[in-house]
């Protein structure tokens, strides 16, 4: 009766509000009269506060409070938005006596106006005892300078963390006889790759406002991906029960993982709890650049061996990850650097080991790709190096060895690849980029050199056995539905995608599904939107919930028709007798009945988790144009093919892919968090940290090769993260194919290319 929304190009449910500029974001809806909260930040990479004088600051007219380390609870916690017990160590205080990076908060100021707050910041006098800083992550492990020597540092999970060794995590795993496999390999490559920290750089910076509600509870309105985790984090940080905290997420201006860390919430929450007054913090772009949650810088040593016939024998990855001053997402991101790169290929044996170290730099966090991006850059570069060493086409080597549907993936926790069209993806991408004609290089009439390169790619769909998604559906009395969600639409469109699923399941127009998401008081529990979980995990909860609600609708309808539920069907509008469709009762009538003398709630809640995390797969190919005289690199064409299982919304899937690819191109060619010798982040604005514009690439083109994932809703897997991983290796491989120079460090800038060309030419 109703059309199917699966695979459609349905507009996002919030499109009109967003495109006409309605006030739907955190700051737009903040109460008038919020105290302005600002932070004094450490100018030193590592120091101990000897004294803080706040009396002068307190005298500034309009200043309401100045808080220092002496005013805050002394129980440590983590800001990582992860399911309890969090793998990230409890190493934070709201304000600490020891400051661990340039930008670490030293004092919180709350004032009636921004001007007063700024003035107060200038009048706080701090005396620091400078401590030696660990600024080179290679020297962090077992350094005599400890970043977290404190007694009450603790870690809830056995992740190999040791604060007396500056380790936020360490470990290893393997399967098969790695040494034997390498010994039997005719071809072996072993190289080290380096990926830098990158900023998510979502357009809306971190921001939160808080107020006390009528019941004396703390209401927190924040731009976050993780309302339920924020509630727990605040409970830990403030030492108050979760029942006293409500966290609400309005529309949010982008996240990409940045807002999977509770970067801004604790400060106004503390102020409002202390003063009883509404308060608000808006991070400046500067603060969002220097004190946030960027991608973990990683160094990866990769060793790959192949036999004479080109069959991979073993893959070994060692990752050194720089988590910065705090452990947020350190133990988990590193896992993906091996577990989502090694399983791209069949091999007899693998080994993956890692160390995650503390340093005196900004704490890293969760950024789209979450370690897989770094791992795949390394492994997919190494595979190309192997192919060149062997003298074979890197595309052919990939086709020969890639993981296929039905394969067990030892390095992916032994999961079976149940849905996998990566071979088709590779074929499609080769055709689209013109691999046969263009590989490896072409010299253009203007002297520029063009090269093509490609990369395989996988991610996961949620965290297996951990992530929980839930959906509540209520029938409203006009026969429509209200869908309550705890996941976070950060622009991706998951509110719409889940409504599409519900509309298909309930056989109704999508307009009949009203969505409310991201409110810990109203939403059913959801881990939040991260780890590529929402479509797959919450989507399945949606399917379950619709089934359950349909059962109730059938049962109530049957009762009204004086028959058994087995005797009736529901077509989206009416419950009718199968035998005699003329005997029917409308959903509207059923809902009115449920509201009057019924005692039955016409609603359902369903939760879902998955024991597996089916990988989406992807292949990306870049054609780069290099001006050999200036080193200037331009990605002139980017071709991608994605297997995200069933495509739920073609538009939204395509834009996920295009957006992820351009972020990846940015990472590969320009984005770089640069510190000076004193540990100051020099990439502290959009002037210094460059983001790709519309004129920085030629064309990005995306195709889909849908598989059908049996454990996913309507056969769907994830797409949000897998899309960022291919550009770095594909571009590095294309650059090699163009000019014969291998870049093992990102970003690959014109300057690096030109200097390398000079060296090659003996200049």
């Amino acid at each position: 009766m109703s059309k199917s929304y699966m695979g459609s190009r349905t507009r996002k449910k919030d499109w009109e509000a967003l495109t006409t500029g309605q006030p739907v974001y955190t700051d737009d809806i903040a109460p008038v009269g919020c105290l302005v909260v600002k932070l004094l930040r450490s100018p030193h990479a590592h120091a101990r506060i000897q004294s803080i004088r706040t009396d002068l600051a307190m005298k500034v007219p309009g200043v309401v409070a100045v808080y220092t380390w002496e005013d805050v609870p002394q129980e440590r916690f983590t800001l990582a938005g992860q399911t309890y017990p969090e793998p990230s160590a409890y190493d934070r205080l709201i304000l600490d006596r020891e400051v661990r990076f340039v930008g670490d908060p030293v004092a919180i100021v709350a004032a009636e106006t921004e001007e007063a707050a700024d003035k107060a910041l200038r009048l706080i006098k701090v005396q620091y005892e400078l401590l030696p800083a660990v600024l080179d992550y290679h020297t962090a492990k077992d350094n005599e300078t400890l970043i977290h020597p404190e007694e009450n540092w603790h870690c809830l999970c056995p992740v190999g963390a040791d604060n007396h060794r500056n380790l936020a995590a360490s470990g290893s795993c393997e399967e098969g006889d790695v040494e034997k496999a390498f010994a039997e390999s005719k071809w072996v490559v072993e190289e080290t790759y380096h990926t830098k920290a990158c900023q998510q750089a979502m357009m809306e910076t971190f921001r939160t406002w808080c107020q006390m509600d009528a019941y004396g509870r703390l209401t927190v309105v924040s731009s976050t991906q993780i309302v339920f985790h924020v509630r727990r984090i605040l409970s830990n940080a403030l030492g108050i029960p979760k029942s006293r905290i409500r966290v609400v997420k309005p529309r949010i201006g982008g996240g990409f993982g940045a807002k999977q860390t509770s970067v801004s919430e604790i400060y106004p929450a503390f102020v409002t709890l202390k003063t009883g007054r509404p308060s608000k913090i808006i991070f400046s772009r500067y603060e969002s650049q220097i004190a946030s949650s960027p991608r973990h810088e990683m160094e990866l040593r990769v060793k790959i061996g192949a036999d004479e016939a080109g069959n991979l024998k073993a893959i070994e990855v060692y990752t050194l990850s720089n988590t910065g001053a705090y452990a947020e997402h350190g133990p988990t991101t590193v896992g993906l650097s091996g577990h989502k790169s090694i399983p791209l290929y069949r091999s007899e044996a693998f080994r993956f080991s890692y160390d995650v170290v503390y340093t005196n730099q900004m704490s890293a966090g969760a950024y789209r790709g979450y370690g897989a991006t770094q791992g795949i850059f390394a492994v997919e570069s190494a595979i190309d190096e192997l192919a060149h060493k062997m003298g074979v086409d890197p595309a052919a080597l990939r086709m020969q060895n890639m993981v296929r549907q039905g394969d067990r993936m030892p390095a992916y926790y032994g999961e079976i690849s149940l849905s996998n069209t990566m071979d088709q993806c590779l074929q499609k991408v080769k055709e689209a980029i013109g691999w046969e004609e263009k590989y490896p290089r072409r010299v253009m009439p203007d002297g520029h050199i063009r090269g093509v390169g490609l990369s395989l790619d996988m991610q996961g769909s949620g965290i297996s056995g951990v992530d929980v998604g839930s959906v509540t559906l209520r029938v409203s009395d006009d026969g429509g539905y209200t869908m309550l969600l705890g996941c976070a639409d950060m622009g991706t469109g998951c509110d719409t995608i889940l409504a599409q699923m519900a509309a298909d399941m309930l056989n109704c127009p999508i307009e009949s599904i009203a969505v409310l998401s991201g409110d810990t008081d109203a939403s059913p529990y959801d881990s939040g939107s991260y780890a590529s979980s929402t479509t797959y995990i919450t989507g399945m909860a949606c399917v379950k919930c619709c089934k359950e609600l349909t059962g109730k609708i059938l049962s109530y309808g049957a009762e009204m028709l004086s028959c058994q539920p087995e005797e009736v069907e529901f077509d989206g509008e009416y419950v009718f007798k199968t035998e005699d469709p003329a005997q029917k009762v409308s959903l509207r009538e059923i809902s009115y009945k449920a509201e009057s003398g019924s005692g039955k709630a016409l609603e359902a809640t369903a939760s879902h988790y998955s024991p597996t995390s089916p990988p989406p797969y992807m292949v990306g190919a870049a054609e780069v144009d290099i001006d050999p005289e200036t080193g200037k690199l331009q990605v002139v064409q980017y071709e991608a093919a994605v297997d995200c299982g069933t495509v739920v919304n073609e538009n939204l899937a395509r834009v996920q892919a295009e957006g992820g690819i351009l972020q990846g191109i940015g990472m590969a060619t320009m984005e770089d968090v640069i510190y000076d010798q004193k540990g100051r982040d020099m990439s502290n604005s959009f002037m210094q940290y460059r983001l790709p514009t519309k004129e920085d690439f030629g064309k990005i083109h995306v195709q889909f090769c849908p598989s059908y994932e049996p454990s996913g809703p309507f056969g769907a897997k994830s797409i949000g993260e897998v899309v960022i991983n291919t550009p770095s290796p594909a571009i590095a491989n294309a650059v090699y194919n163009a000019i014969g120079i291998r870049f093992r460090e990102l970003p690959i800038t014109a300057e690096k290319i030109l200097l390398a060309l000079n060296e090659k030419d003996g200049k």
Binding site: T630, L691, T693, D696, A750, L754
Partner: protein, 259 residues
């Protein structure tokens, strides 16, 4: 953060000049870069009431008001026809349309910013800057000085040279790693190199060139100025770019001439 204590919008140039004599005064341009850094202006002088936004064709030259925007330079048909599109080329990569709708010619000149594509282009042309009290000053003289307490009112650009600008940037609308201009007049070729990262300078010329001597000219020009290290490039990188881009610009002018 920027603090402005007094804001003035004078009705005459004389009034503006008198305000400019006050300590801590400055003329507002497009204010695009004004907010960067921490500073206090005692008196901000807004010249927008003085009718200084114009591009007049005076036959052998153009007369441009100080409040002409970079976007005006980009879209002015007569200006770009006279100089082979060089003005559109020079400003087209500066941040974005919105920025260029505010940024002024006078601000770009008076600021004498190291990264200025505009200053680089103008040094390659025969131009004069008009200061209210001092009168006409050759742009080269003006570019080498600093912060005179005068009012920049207009700029005269003679049509006697053809010019080509080139630059290299980390991405499309970044500040340049190097920006260069080469021009040709009756006296021969002139090379200007900017964003070294210091302020643009005439590096070589005037000199007559042929297709075969252009590379040597570019090398000589690139060697004639100094370079520094910064986030947008090391000194050797900048020097190498300066030579390549200067050679290309010179060759491009020579080839166009041959056509």
């Amino acid at each position: 953060m920027l603090h402005i204590l007094n804001y003035e919008r004078p009705q005459t140039l004389e009034e503006a000049y008198q305000l400019r004599q006050k300590k801590g005064s400055a003329v507002l341009g497009g204010t695009g870069w004004l907010r960067l850094g921490e500073h206090t202006l005692r008196t901000a002088i807004d010249l927008s009431g003085l009718g200084l936004r114009y591009i007049k064709d005076e036959g052998d030259s153009f007369l441009l008001g100080a409040y002409t925007t970079l976007r005006d330079l980009e879209t002015s048909a007569p200006l770009n026809e006279a100089f082979g599109g060089a003005f559109a080329d020079a400003v087209g990569s500066i941040v974005g349309i919105q920025f260029r709708n505010c940024a002024t010619l006078g601000g770009s000149l008076y600021g004498r910013f190291g990264f200025s594509d505009v200053l680089t282009l103008l040094l390659a042309l025969d131009c004069e800057v008009h200061l209210y009290k001092e009168g006409w000053v050759p742009v080269e003289t003006f570019a080498a000085r600093n912060g005179e307490p005068d009012i920049l009112t207009e700029l005269r650009i003679y049509k006697n040279r053809r010019v080509k600008v080139l630059s290299q940037r980390l991405n499309a609308n970044d500040f340049p790693s190097v920006t260069i201009a080469v021009s040709k007049g009756e006296d021969g070729f002139r090379s200007v190199i900017g964003a070294r990262p210091c302020r643009a300078k005439i590096a070589a010329g005037p000199e007559k060139l042929t297709l075969s001597t252009a590379p040597d000219f570019a090398k000589k020009a690139a060697d004639a100025v100094s370079y520094g290290n910064g986030m947008r490039g090391s000194a050797p990188y900048r020097r190498q770019l300066a030579e390549v881009l200067t050679r290309r610009a010179a060759l491009s002018l020579l080839q166009k001439e041959a056509e």
